[in-house]
């Protein structure tokens, strides 16, 4: 047995312990994960793909224009309704039942919701809007409730009897700017989410992106991507307090295809389709158990296992990337030209939906966990790096601080922001888990893969069971993350500053 030097242990702090666990689990996941490159000659494809950027063009610009209008108006209508629903739900967030059902709807990715509504209402705008509204109103409800709770300087004892008047006078005014800025941030997210709904067949950007990709028209892929960056990056100029009402009304009129609503289908889906078929057909308990057992050992176990492996690997890689990148956007380390270039780079990385990154890497490297892990790392790493950069800009170091960059990084800056860094990481954890599950649709054997195949076989009862498991897994991760943040005492108010967090 090796003797442990006690004086060393004294330096083991809570955040080192937590980091060690993340590292260890991440490393084990790295060893387990299948990260092989299966495409035959990648270099040529990669070269072809990246060189196409100079040949930007699109076959039919009117289609492209329509795809953009479609994407933007779906996102706008969806966020408008979600904000209203979310606000009302936020008022009842103290209610346990509301809280639990919201954490459940939140835990299911919008792409999964789209797959569900496809079965009920078919391929149309209604499906797209509902797929965004349901998870988004749940997310907004949670964050709105937090914001309302946090920005409240009025003492409880002074609050009088007219509850609505007091609510409007003492809670809303201070919370309002934060509610608006968070909703705006969510609108950006809704743009990304709507774009990727195209991958399941709705005619938003993702639809044209994937079809151009499959035909090898890489110049079109770049065209769509670059225009999308411009749209996302310029949101604050065209979506503000003056334009949002006319734009939302215009979007309602633009999207006139709500014909898909079918009450019978909805009833059939809820009362029959998703009921396990041995129960539906009254085959008895043994058959039901066999049905469950079969799915459990062949799909749930490997699905959950792979989802966790991918999540932990991606989390670990995200952490590394963020730690490497954040000095590039920090005033404490670099001059303006470097920071500006890095900013643009990070903006591009984080405005590309993980799903699209993963899709691109999948075409380049073939199916394994590698594309998914890379995509999750780049997207989430750049978000955390950006937040950390902002965080370090707020630090005031003493004037005679060391000029050596590495020393400054390890002795002065990192120790000061490390707890914050871990908190950011834990906030992203749940999101990475959601994405890891969904990336299964691209052919990696996470839960999304099995859900997608269940839908393809039209076995909706199985799909529903797998979705429940996915949601459950997410809720567990959320709870662990909350516990970990409490353990680190890194839980102080994030909603006001880190809007790009959740």
């Amino acid at each position: 047995m090796m003797k442990i030097d006690r004086s060393c242990i004294m330096f083991v702090t809570k955040n080192l312990r937590v980091s060690f666990v993340i590292f260890l689990v991440g490393f084990i996941s790295f060893l387990i994960a299948d990260l092989s490159i299966s495409t035959v000659d990648t270099s040529l494809l990669v070269q072809d793909f990246f060189f196409s950027i100079v040949k930007l063009s699109f076959n039919d610009y009117s289609i492209l224009f329509e795809a953009f209008l479609n994407t933007i108006s779906i996102a706008m209508v969806a966020i408008f309704i979600s904000a209203i629903l979310g606000f009302f739900l936020a008022l009842f967030f103290q209610n346990m039942l509301v809280r639990i059902s919201l954490s459940f709807t939140r835990a299911i990715h919008e792409l999964f919701w789209a797959l569900i509504f496809l079965q009920i209402f078919g391929l149309n705008t209604l499906t797209a809007i509902l797929a965004i509204i349901i998870p988004y109103s749940a997310i907004l409800a949670k964050v709105y409730a937090e914001i309302l709770e946090e920005h409240d300087t009025f003492p409880e004892t002074l609050r009088g009897k007219s509850r609505i008047s007091y609510f409007i006078y003492t809670k809303i005014p201070d919370a309002f700017p934060h509610l608006v800025s968070y909703t705006l941030y969510r609108f950006e997210c809704a743009l990304r989410s709507t774009a990727i709904l195209g991958f399941v067949g709705i005619t938003t950007l993702g639809y044209y992106l994937s079809s151009s990709f499959m035909q090898g028209y890489y110049h079109e892929v770049w065209m769509i991507l670059i225009l999308f960056y411009i749209v996302v990056a310029s949101v604050k100029w065209w979506f503000n307090k003056y334009t949002f009402i006319p734009l939302t009304i215009a979007s309602f009129f633009y999207l006139d295809d709500f014909s898909g609503f079918n009450w019978d289908n909805l009833v059939r889906f809820v009362t029959s389709d998703i009921v396990p078929h041995p129960i539906r057909n009254d085959l008895g308990f043994d058959k039901t158990l066999a049905w469950f057992d079969n799915i459990f050992s062949n799909e749930i176990l490997p699905g959950v296992f792979n989802t966790i492996v991918l999540t932990q690997l991606a989390l670990f890689l995200t952490a590394i990337l963020a730690l490497l990148l954040f000095p590039l956007v920090s005033k404490k380390f670099f001059q303006k030209p470097t920071r500006l270039t890095s900013h643009i780079f990070l903006v591009i990385l984080r405005s590309t939906p993980e799903y699209i990154l993963a899709y691109v890497f999948l075409q380049l490297f073939g199916p394994s966990m590698l594309p998914a892990a890379l995509a999750l790392m780049l997207h989430n790493g750049s978000i955390i790096a950006h937040l950390m950069g902002n965080e370090t800009n707020l630090l005031s170091l003493r004037p005679d601080v060391t000029k050596k960059r590495n020393e400054k990084y390890f002795y002065e800056v990192l120790p000061r922001v490390y707890n914050q860094f871990l908190a950011f990481l834990f906030y992203r954890w749940e999101i990475i888990m959601r994405e890891s599950a969904i990336l299964g649709i691209l052919g990696i054997a996470t839960l999304g893969f099995f859900i997608d195949s269940a839908i393809a076989d039209f076995r909706l009862d199985k799909m529903f069971l797998l979705l429940l498991i996915t949601a459950f897994l997410n809720i567990i991760v959320d709870l662990i993350s909350k516990k970990a943040r409490e353990y680190l005492r890194a839980n102080d108010s994030f909603t006001s500053c880190g809007c790009s967090l959740k």
Partner: protein
């Protein structure tokens, strides 16, 4: 009698701050509570407020202003219960002239009339205190309970606002830590130290020893 406490234990959370505490305050009395932070002044005031919420205007130490609302609205808040939801909503968007005039008058007395439409977040600490005082005055209750309402004001304004706080309410109980201002503006002083009363006398009856004790509790 405005307040009558007999051998009570008064706690802050789980922690008993004042034990076996007795105090009686008659209607019409102007009382200054003196003592350092931690002596139990705030706990006592909060307790008194909980006893008679209906009759008291309370200015907590943290003031309880809504940062993103104007001074007008923060003062108006004390009338929320009196008015209908409709009136309240209307005044939020379009303040009525009547209320504007009434509130301006009070603001004039605390020398804040030019800030009627300023948001609280643009005010200094002293201006915020005066806004909270205006809110309490506008409340028009019989009893005032104020927790260090003048800590950020200069001598001139302290004097002026204390006069308002003692004259606009039938009964006033203020926590302070300036002995001279307390003796000058109030009828009765109570010196608290670690949860027990060291001095409790009418100002006219104070002798040198009492004054020494009062300076001691505030040190």
């Amino acid at each position: 009698m405005a307040f009558y406490l007999q051998d009570q234990n008064i706690s802050y959370g789980d922690f008993t701050v004042l034990s076996d505490f007795s105090l009686s305050i008659k209607k019409g009395e102007k009382v200054a509570l003196l003592g350092k932070s931690g002596s139990g002044k705030s706990t006592l005031l909060k307790h008194l407020f909980d006893l008679q919420k209906q009759n008291c205007s309370y200015i907590p130490q943290e003031l309880g202003l809504v940062n993103n609302l104007s001074v007008f609205h923060n003062v108006y808040i004390s009338k929320l219960d009196e008015n209908s939801l409709f009136t309240n909503l209307k005044n939020l968007v379009l303040p009525s002239t009547k209320y504007k005039n009434d509130i301006s008058k009070i603001l004039e007395e605390v020398e804040l009339e030019d800030k009627l439409q300023s948001k609280i977040l643009n005010l200094s600490g002293g201006q915020k205190q005066r806004c909270a005082i205006a809110r309490a005055v506008f409340d028009e209750k019989a009893i005032l309970l104020a927790d260090e309402p003048i800590s950020a004001l200069d001598e001139y304004l302290s004097d002026k606002t204390l006069k308002i706080l003692t004259s606009k309410f039938e009964t006033s109980i203020c926590a302070l830590h300036n002995v001279d201002l307390a003796i000058k503006n109030f009828d009765r002083v109570i010196g608290l130290k670690n949860g027990s009363v060291l001095v409790d006398k009418a100002c006219v009856d104070l002798n040198d020893e009492d004054r020494q004790k009062l300076y001691y509790v505030c040190d």
